[in-house]
């Protein structure tokens, strides 16, 4: 019998990728297609959903061709997707009624004013922000002629990218998974179903919403005999791909920013530090695993700024080389609050500062302070998570492009005082989607089976002495205060 594989579709913000995994979760083939971001007006970010669907179709075929296999050798398909992005399409023709509104889009910011943030947070676990789907759906209903009445009649459908892909792949099933639903701001986090009060608040007809399913079950067939069997929002997929199955297990994905998710177990943990409470995953009819999520606004993008804005380095990797020319930060700290400070500070007006400059400071010290800024921002979010959850982080599982930076990984281990672990399967988002799909069809038997696939490729042990850490941490806190102070006009 020929070997079978699981296909993961990672529908991301800037590109879509298809990866085939074998039973040991090694990558057999990987293909990728980028799509354009449209910025029709300031603050607007749109995608062409029809184009994305065409890309995904093409990529699925290419991934199989490169691996030299046909659909018969695909055991299941899993989907991980950019979260919160809104697609509304015509049920009869399958055509989007408007460009997809991307999660980064801030056109609905004026809508937030009249809303009851504490009620919404209580019901959904989400802070009031344009980020999530609800205001975007409302915007379309308000601004596309005739859309609301068509929605009420069930003639047009709403979905996040997962729903859009399932609809197209299965030829008309209107479904979403519970992790994606938890990001719409329309789902009750306790009952895991669409909430009538929220639908009322946002004036969204129930008829246009997909059915909420678990993250790992058979949703339908993409090809004869090939089920779609796993769906997770991309950050949740990374949590699952990192096999963070026990309460306290935490992962951080470092890209332009950072996303930290901690598995908090079967009851949602309400944050008193402004972290997001979200659904981590749900396997079939099993218990839901909830998660706390905190984001680091500026990580890799600070390095890009050093490269493109300051011209101190030629490539992003050189930040480590430059930082390696000095042994410490020389007393210099950078707070990269380019667009405010996120959790746990929530100072949207704060702006970045560089403090502690003396004539002794070289570009090496600045480079070091750049990497340390990512380390301290991670520490801030981890401290908030530990406090909210009552769990103590014992190790941080990392993935994403910045994990190539050894010095940064060491800095994070030093600042958190826990080991930092890089898994051998770097494609954690895709592997998470594959795992969810493979579990549902028995390709992998259970969570323990998945953990057997997990091997660490690297591990950084904390090596900083406690006094030094406390001293540096206090300096960072004061640097953050400076950023806040500077933005406050008397």
């Amino acid at each position: 019998m020929s070997e079978r594989y699981v296909l993961a579709i990672d529908q991301g913000t800037t590109s879509s990728r298809c990866i085939l995994f074998d039973r040991r979760a090694t990558v057999v083939s990987v293909v990728r297609g980028e799509h354009t971001q449209s910025y029709p007006r300031p603050g607007w970010v749109e995608h062409d959903a029809a184009r994305i669907w065409r890309d995904v179709q093409r990529l699925i075929k290419r991934a199989m061709r490169e691996a030299g296999i046909g659909p018969a050798q695909v055991a299941a398909i899993g989907i991980a997707n950019q979260r919160e992005t809104v697609v509304v399409w015509d049920k009869a023709s399958g055509t989007p009624v408007a460009p997809a509104i991307v999660w980064q889009d801030t056109r609905t910011s004026s809508m937030l004013d009249g809303l009851d943030g504490s009620f919404i947070r209580e019901r959904t676990g989400l802070p009031l922000a344009t980020y999530f789907s609800a205001t975007k759906v409302k915007w379309l209903l308000d601004n596309v002629a005739g859309l609301r009445s068509r929605a009420a009649r069930g003639e047009v459908l709403f979905g996040t990218m997962d729903s859009w892909l399932i609809w197209n792949l299965t030829g008309g099933k209107h479904l979403t998974d519970v992790t994606n639903a938890s990001r719409t701001m329309l789902m009750d986090l306790a009952t895991l179903s669409w909430d009538p009060d929220l639908l009322d608040i946002f004036d969204i007809p129930r008829a246009m919403l997909p059915e909420i399913r678990s993250s790992s079950e058979v949703y339908g067939e993409a090809f004869p005999g090939v089920p779609i069997a796993g769906v997770l929002g991309d950050q949740q997929a990374a949590l699952f791909g990192q096999t963070c199955f026990a309460p306290g297990d935490t992962k951080c994905t470092y890209g332009t920013g950072g996303f930290l998710l901690m598995n908090t177990g079967s009851a949602p943990v309400r944050s008193s530090h402004g972290l997001i409470t979200t659904v981590g995953y749900q396997i079939g009819s099993g218990e839901v695993a909830y998660a706390l999520e905190g984001s680091i606004a500026i990580a890799g993008s600070l390095v890009q700024w050093v490269r493109d804005g300051l011209g101190l380095i030629g490539t992003a990797s050189e930040i480590e080389t430059l930082a390696g020319t000095v042994g410490d930060n020389g007393g210099c700290y950078i707070v990269p609050a380019f667009s405010g400070l996120y959790a746990p500070y929530w100072e949207s007006e704060a702006r970045g500062v560089i403090v502690g400059l003396t004539s002794y400071i070289t570009k090496g010290h600045l480079a070091r302070a750049v990497l340390e800024a990512t380390g301290w921002q991670t520490r801030d979010v981890v401290d908030a998570m530990n406090a909210d959850s009552g769990l103590a982080l014992t190790a941080l599982n990392v993935d994403g492009g910045m994990t190539a930076d050894n010095l940064l990984m060491q800095i994070i281990a030093d600042f958190l005082d826990v080991p930092v672990v890089r898994p051998m399967v770097a494609e954690t988002v895709s592997v998470g989607a594959a795992y969810a799909a493979g579990l549902a069809v028995g390709y992998w038997s259970d969570l323990r089976d998945l953990q057997h696939n997990r091997h660490s490729a690297g591990r950084w042990r904390p090596g900083m002495d406690a006094d030094r850490r406390a001293f540096e941490h206090a300096n960072w806190k004061r640097a953050v205060e400076s950023a806040v102070f500077f933005s406050r006009r008397p």
Partner: protein, 254 residues
């Protein structure tokens, strides 16, 4: 335009472009006009020189200037952290497929510096040795790096070929033979030349023009890397050389 037969015209033209840029920052059109070349030819030359790092384009003014690669000709070329960043996913896949620990090395100051280290995928206790130094003549990584770098061999020989085990190649003649063999087959093998009981297999990672900028290899117990005649297992050699080629494609193609 006159051109001496037997010499390579595009190199002559590239040299002329560099001389022009040494005097000041210029646009494509200005360079084409100065050398009486079609604009498309000048553009191809500039793009190639940009690819190898000898010129840079200011994105704001669209003018070209001499690149950092030219100013740093005497230095070691590719940034080692850049090398790690480019090789990361390939190195992981090698460790997963080969089942052995993976290291990437480059020559610096007469030593092999470990640029990247991926654990053996068996979850045993291991520690990262990125940044550690290895002896070039006694390790598979080092022998690959020496095989394509004659001056470095001289340095190593002059420093003295220290014996780490009784199998370490301590005679220049023996080392030279091993390096020739490495060049001929495109990969190196070291069996108990540095540590008793351990072996390594490594292959070169090249940048544009074939320049060897590093080596990638696996290491582990002799019985896992070699057969009973102490020859490298072909499947592992294939994994290592395929990985080196993949990283090379990535580095040379960008």
């Amino acid at each position: 335009m006159s051109h001496v037969p037997g010499l390579i015209q595009s190199i002559e033209r590239s040299s002329a472009v560099l001389r022009l840029l040494a005097a000041g920052r210029l646009r494509v059109k200005e360079i084409a006009d100065a050398l009486d070349l079609p604009k498309s030819t000048a553009h191809s030359i500039l793009r190639t020189l940009e690819h190898v790092g000898f010129v840079e384009q200011d994105t704001r003014t669209a003018r070209y200037r001499l690149g950092r690669g030219l100013l740093e000709l005497g230095e070691d070329g590719l940034d080692l952290n850049e090398l790690r960043g480019r090789a990361l996913n390939w190195a992981d896949a090698l460790a997963a497929r080969g089942g052995e620990e993976v290291r990437i090395g480059a020559l610096r100051d007469g030593h092999v510096v470990v640029v990247h280290h991926v654990f053996r995928p068996d979850d045993s206790v291991q520690s990262l040795d990125t940044g550690h130094l290895l002896p070039p003549h006694a390790t598979a990584l080092g022998k690959v790096l020496l095989a394509y770098n004659a001056p470095a061999v001289e340095v190593a020989v002059r420093a003295g070929l220290e014996a780490y085990t009784r199998r370490t190649l301590t005679l220049p003649r023996d080392l030279a033979r091993s390096l020739t063999e490495t060049r001929e087959r495109g990969w190196s093998l070291s069996v108990e030349e540095w540590e008793a009981g351990r072996a390594g297999i490594a292959a070169p990672v090249r940048s544009f023009g074939g320049l060897v900028v590093g080596a990638i290899g696996v290491s582990g117990p002799v019985e896992r890397l070699c057969d009973t005649r102490r020859q490298a297992r072909p499947a592992l050699v294939e994994h290592v050389t395929a990985t080196a080629r993949a990283i090379t494609r990535d580095l040379a193609g960008s």
